[in-house]
Symmetry: C2
Subunit: 139 residues, 2 copies
């Protein structure tokens, strides 16, 4: 994350952070928290927060997938902090599970493209990984 | 990348690598090169290769987007090498450009989901980033 972000200092101090996957229907609130900085604006009431095992990793209730991470290391670059975390626990809403596994078609994750400066939806499954390519194997 | 990959030694030796974005229509060949290791099988004839400024970063002609990277650093973990590269040059097929910018709708990138073990397509643009959320700003 760019060093100018207010979040960076909090992660370094608390040695924890969370990763929350927003669905398409959260686009307005998700964009809003990316637009305004916590340095100037209190954003703590935009989403409903809950906590798991890590007392300083707030998790977003509205997001179908949440990961609480312990800070493992920070890789320093001139412009960005690269935060490397160990996932301590993962939460998934029952509604996005299929046979106990996360189903992207239900998550409807909000994708971010820096080139078009747009959010994109995910499309459809195309083929099975480590499988469809077998037809090219030499006999 | 997992340390067991044959590619890792090559990147460390040549201090260069490339990132190539395959389109949906390359799913079979892309999956194939992920299925077999260069340690045992010569995969150099699967795609057509070209070179830019970096003589040891082969670029894939069939992929609409290619980035040649100089190896900047390797962050070492017990199981993975995290390769940090500096993008030296980027190539984009004319056919995926719109007003000189990469258009994801034309790229049709192949997305990879480790949970479903499937490739997915990208969907549609949803909203403008750093914009749609403005409606939540307090007056």
């Amino acid at each position: 994350m760019g060093k100018s972000h207010y979040t960076n200092a909090g992660i370094k101090k608390n040695k924890a952070f969370s990763v929350n996957i927003p669905s398409e229907d959260l686009v307005v609130a998700t964009d809003y928290v990316g637009l305004v900085s916590g340095k100037k604006t209190d954003k703590s009431d935009v989403f409903e927060i809950f906590y798991g095992k890590l007392p300083s990793a707030p998790l977003i209730n509205e997001c179908p997938i949440n990961m609480a991470c312990r800070l493992y290391d920070v890789y320093d670059t001139p412009t960005h902090d690269l935060f490397i975390g160990e996932i301590v626990e993962t939460y998934a809403d029952e509604s996005v599970l299929n046979d106990g596994k996360v189903d992207l078609a239900q998550v409807k994750p909000l994708l971010f493209d820096m080139s078009s400066i747009k959010y994109w939806s995910i499309g459809k499954p195309i083929a099975a990984c480590w499988n469809i390519g077998k037809q090219l194997k030499k006999k």
